[in-house]
């Protein structure tokens, strides 16, 4: 019998998990379920739905943190922060449309569990750098907490990091605290329009690197090949007819103006340089964060590849030698999004082989459920890492009742 549990407070979460532990019934732990397409499908018929735990419990703008229950919709949190002109610096992306769902969905718990971050990752870190404390119920049916509400804290093991990106396999988070910061006064984007796509493939990396190592405090660096740029809603990009590299500058007005001018001068040797102001900049970086350019063609698979920045273009080159793919780069070249026709043994080996050579990892972010059931989604772990991963899981969830198999088969 399928039984779905929808607790409304943390005591009920505790009861739910204790019931599962007692009965040895695995739970499919989720918020709104918007990121279920990421990772492996859970081996369970019973859903533990946390969307009933929805409340911002402590938001203190002057202390630069926000605490909310795990099921709180992110859009509620954004609305609260917006009123105080604050934001989450790691710029959580909205993968709704990329994964075939609606926009503006998703909860705090889901965001933390999947450890995702937008283009400002290179400067402001990821969810793991911004989650400073949490409360949870372990797979042992016990409530526990770690961290706190202040940033500077080294009291005990930093379990917030471990929970972030664990896809709900270690404990059911009931509450999390995130760092917030004031939104930048001004945002500008310097665009480089490449004369030839071929040049861009070779040199975009050099352009992004030069920008990032300059003193102009570039907060994001992305590269859109011509085909991808044409899909942007920003007029300059969709009419460019060529590849475009984008560099983001944020800060007080006089500073952004100065840094933009300096950056344009630095990059003019690569192609025609142009500048976007706040409104268009925000539109562009949201598209890049959300990977909205690859949302169409849902039947095609999407890989997310994290490598050293200078390796991104090389990895892509190796893959394109034997496969057709749509590609975009973020994080100064270190994050590659790849949309590919199908995922078979050969194309999987091609992607993973290229990534391993460069040093990094590839995640199959979008694929059929059937495909995700095989152990293909995450980069495989070596035997020692498999051992430690299993022992960590066992320490938190010895009966394997929380999202079993969500990350790796048997874990």
């Amino acid at each position: 019998m399928t039984e779905n549990l929808k607790p409304e407070n943390k005591d009920q979460v505790l009861e739910s998990v204790q019931w599962a532990v007692t009965k040895k019934i695995p739970l499919d732990v989720r918020g709104q379920g918007t990121k279920l397409g990421m990772g492996r499908p859970v081996e369970s018929d019973h859903i533990l739905d946390l969307s009933g735990l929805s409340e911002i419990t402590d938001y203190q703008p002057s202390e630069l943190f926000v605490t909310a229950n795990a099921g709180t919709p992110m859009k509620d949190i954004y609305a609260a922060l917006d009123q105080q002109n604050q934001q989450l610096m790691f710029e959580p992306p909205d993968y709704g449309p990329l994964l075939g769902g609606a926009v503006d969905q998703g909860t705090l718990g889901g965001l933390v569990a999947c450890n995702i971050a937008g283009p400002r990752r290179i400067k402001a870190g990821s969810a793991r750098d911004n989650c400073i404390g949490f409360h949870a119920v372990s797979g042992r049916g016990e409530m526990f907490k770690s961290g706190g509400k202040v940033v500077k804290n080294v009291t005990g093991f930093d379990l917030s990091k471990l929970m972030t990106g664990s896809y709900g396999t270690l404990a059911v988070m009931t509450e999390a605290t995130l760092k917030v910061l004031p939104s930048p006064e001004n945002t500008r984007t310097v665009l480089v329009r490449w004369a030839k796509d071929g040049d861009a493939d070779q040199l975009n990396n050099q352009a992004m690197t030069e920008a990032l190592v300059s003193t102009n405090e570039v907060s994001s660096a992305a590269h859109l090949p011509a085909k991808i740029a044409a899909r942007s809603a920003v007029a300059y990009l969709n009419s460019a007819g060529s590849a475009v590299t984008a560099l983001r500058i944020e800060g007080p007005a006089p500073s952004t103006e100065y840094r933009c001018a300096a950056l344009k001068q630095l990059l003019s040797k690569f192609g025609e340089v142009e500048e976007l102001h706040t409104k268009n900049s925000k539109m562009l970086w949201k598209e890049i964060a959300d990977v909205s350019y690859l949302a169409a063609n849902q039947e095609r698979a999407v890989w997310r590849i994290s490598v050293p920045p200078t390796e991104g273009a090389h990895v892509v080159q190796r893959i394109l030698e034997s496969a057709e793919a749509d590609v975009m780069y973020d994080w100064g070249g270190g994050l590659v999004w790849l949309q590919i026709d199908e995922v078979d043994q050969a194309s999987k080996d091609l992607v993973r082989g290229s990534v391993t050579q460069a040093g990094g990892h590839a995640t199959l972010v979008r694929a059929s459920k059937q495909l995700r059931q095989s152990d293909i989604v995450f980069q495989p772990l070596d035997p020692y890492m498999t051992g430690i991963t299993k022992r960590v899981k066992n320490g938190f969830d010895p009966e394997s009742v929380l999202n079993p198999g969500r990350m790796y088969k048997g874990i």
């Binding site: 929808k6 750098d129 907490k145 800060g251 007080p252 920045p309 990094g360 320490g395």
Partner: protein, 495 residues
């Protein structure tokens, strides 16, 4: 401070252990002589001393792996040690344990400017990383005040902070990868030159784990382009409330300074007497706010900060007019500990974090405690992120005064927790705050943390007696307690 009772069996096997270590590590890398061992009997928390069983100084990952494997198989305890500058006793030796020093891991392996990172061995000092890259205009941002001596491996073990962590993050936000040896001798690599590890974020929990989870043998850290320019403004306030208001207003205005430090009257006077930094002596609170970045931004922000300072009641304001003057402003702050130390035979340095808004309340309470314990206290404070460093002055030659100072310190940390803060912001728990962990964590909280330790070190051989007040056996921690049969939950909504 009670440490676990030394195991007589291990001590009796000392010669056998020495021979085993000599077969793995070079001869001069095994220190057994009582005189030489004394050099390792404490770390930066010098009130506690213990001569280790022996000290070994391996030179390669393979050697560390063999040492740990031997200790794992023979039930010998290990205390990892970097430069020994830690302030919480995390590297305090054990009478029945080997102190494993990483001083010979002292090479920078790769400076990769295009990928903005450095690969280094863990014994390299924090400052040496910056020195290896500054000719190309780069630096390593986290800057604990011991940066000239402390090792990067130790920084990772403690998740060290520093003046710049407000803007540039703690060690944990700047470490990209490590190679580490587990207690079993297995070698694992986490992260690298790319962002985000695959699988569980073990790198995240190992950072700040105080040597309880493994021995780090290689490190990859992020480096940043050095800011074009930096300027500091020195502000004096009649009350600490006003200084606190100024800090809140600066952050409220969306400005995140490179550094924002506060000192109280006692600390100001001590520092001024010591280094003549030009501090105003008639104020209750001094703020040093540093802005860094492109020149036009720094000029613009200095103006904003000056306006805010005026509006919040600053009675003294001075902007650095040269790099030399900026460094002079900092000289007093950087010398604050020794400056206060000059005024007293002994002092202990505390390290709690509080919500910024609770500053004046905490200072008021601290002054009451100072009267109660009849001991002087000076305060220096990373005001931007709420990290307090009260320095408690005492004279160890007066019977009972050290205990009084420790109790005063404990009360300060309890105060920090009671206003919503934490026991330690950057120095670590070690042995110093171990017995206060219960102020912040429940028994279940601590047991869950210790279960993570069991995943890495099932026999609890790595740095036992540190961080957690009670040593539970892993078998006991792993046992499941069945909850009174079947649970009923009439209130739980189902659909």
């Amino acid at each position: 401070m009670l440490m676990p009772k030394p195991d007589e069996g291990t001590i009796a096997k000392r010669d056998e252990i020495i021979r085993a270590m000599q077969s793995i590590v070079s001869d001069e890398g095994v220190i057994t002589n009582k005189e030489e061992l004394r050099a390792y009997d404490c770390d930066g928390l010098m009130a506690y001393k213990q001569v280790p069983l022996i000290v070994i100084l391996p030179e390669s990952t393979a050697e560390v792996s063999k040492v740990l494997k031997y200790c794992f198989e023979n039930d010998v305890k290990i205390v990892p040690r970097g430069s020994g500058t830690g302030l919480s006793g995390g590297a305090l030796p054990l009478a029945d344990g080997i102190t494993l020093g990483l001083g010979k891991f002292n090479k920078v392996l790769d400076t990769d400017f295009k990928n903005r990172c450095v690969v280094t061995q863990p014994g390299v000092t924090n400052l040496a990383i910056t020195q290896a890259v500054q000719h190309k205009g780069f630096y390593y941002a986290p800057d604990p005040s011991s940066q000239i001596a402390c090792s990067i491996g130790g920084n990772i073990a403690e998740n060290s902070g520093g003046v710049h962590s407000l803007k540039y993050g703690l060690t944990t936000n700047n470490v990209m990868g490590i190679e580490m040896v587990l207690m079993s001798g297995e070698v694992i690599r986490l992260g690298g030159k790319h962002l985000d590890s695959q699988g569980y974020d073990l790198l995240g929990v190992i950072t700040g784990s105080e040597g309880l989870l493994g021995v780090i043998t290689e490190v990859t850290v992020r480096i940043l382009t050095a800011p074009e320019t930096a300027k500091a403004v020195l502000l004096g306030f009649d009350t600490s409330e006003q200084a606190g208001d100024c800090v809140a207003a600066v952050i409220g205005a969306g400005i995140i300074p490179g550094g924002m430090e506060m000192m109280d009257t006692f600390a100001i006077q001590a520092a001024e007497e010591f280094v003549n930094a030009g501090y105003p002596l008639n104020v209750e609170a001094l703020l040093i706010i540093e802005l860094d970045g492109p020149e036009v931004e720094v000029e613009y922000l200095i103006e904003q900060v000056s306006k805010i300072a005026k509006n919040t009641g600053a009675v003294h304001a001075k902007i650095s007019q040269s790099e030399e003057e900026r460094l002079t402003f900092w000289s007093g702050r950087k010398a604050a500990f020794p400056a206060v130390g000059r005024l007293s035979p002994d002092y202990i340095c505390m390290d709690g974090t509080i919500p910024r808004g609770k500053l004046s309340e905490v200072l008021r309470e601290m002054n009451k405690l100072s009267k109660k314990y009849d001991l002087r206290v000076a305060n220096v404070f990373h005001a931007g992120d709420g990290n307090l460093h009260p320095l408690i002055l005492f004279d160890a030659n007066n019977p009972g005064e050290f205990e009084r100072a420790e109790n005063f310190g404990s009360d300060i940390l309890r105060l920090c927790v009671s206003v919503g803060g934490v026991l330690t912001g950057e120095h670590g728990v070690g042995i110093e705050k171990r017995d206060l962990m219960g102020e912040m964590f429940t028994e279940d909280d601590m047991k869950q943390q210790q279960r993570l330790k069991c995943a890495f070190d099932p026999n609890q051989l790595l740095n036992p007696g540190k961080v957690y007040p009670t040593l539970h056996r892993c078998a006991e921690l792993g046992r499941m307690h069945v909850h009174k049969g079947i649970v009923k939950f009439p209130d739980l909504p189902r659909f």
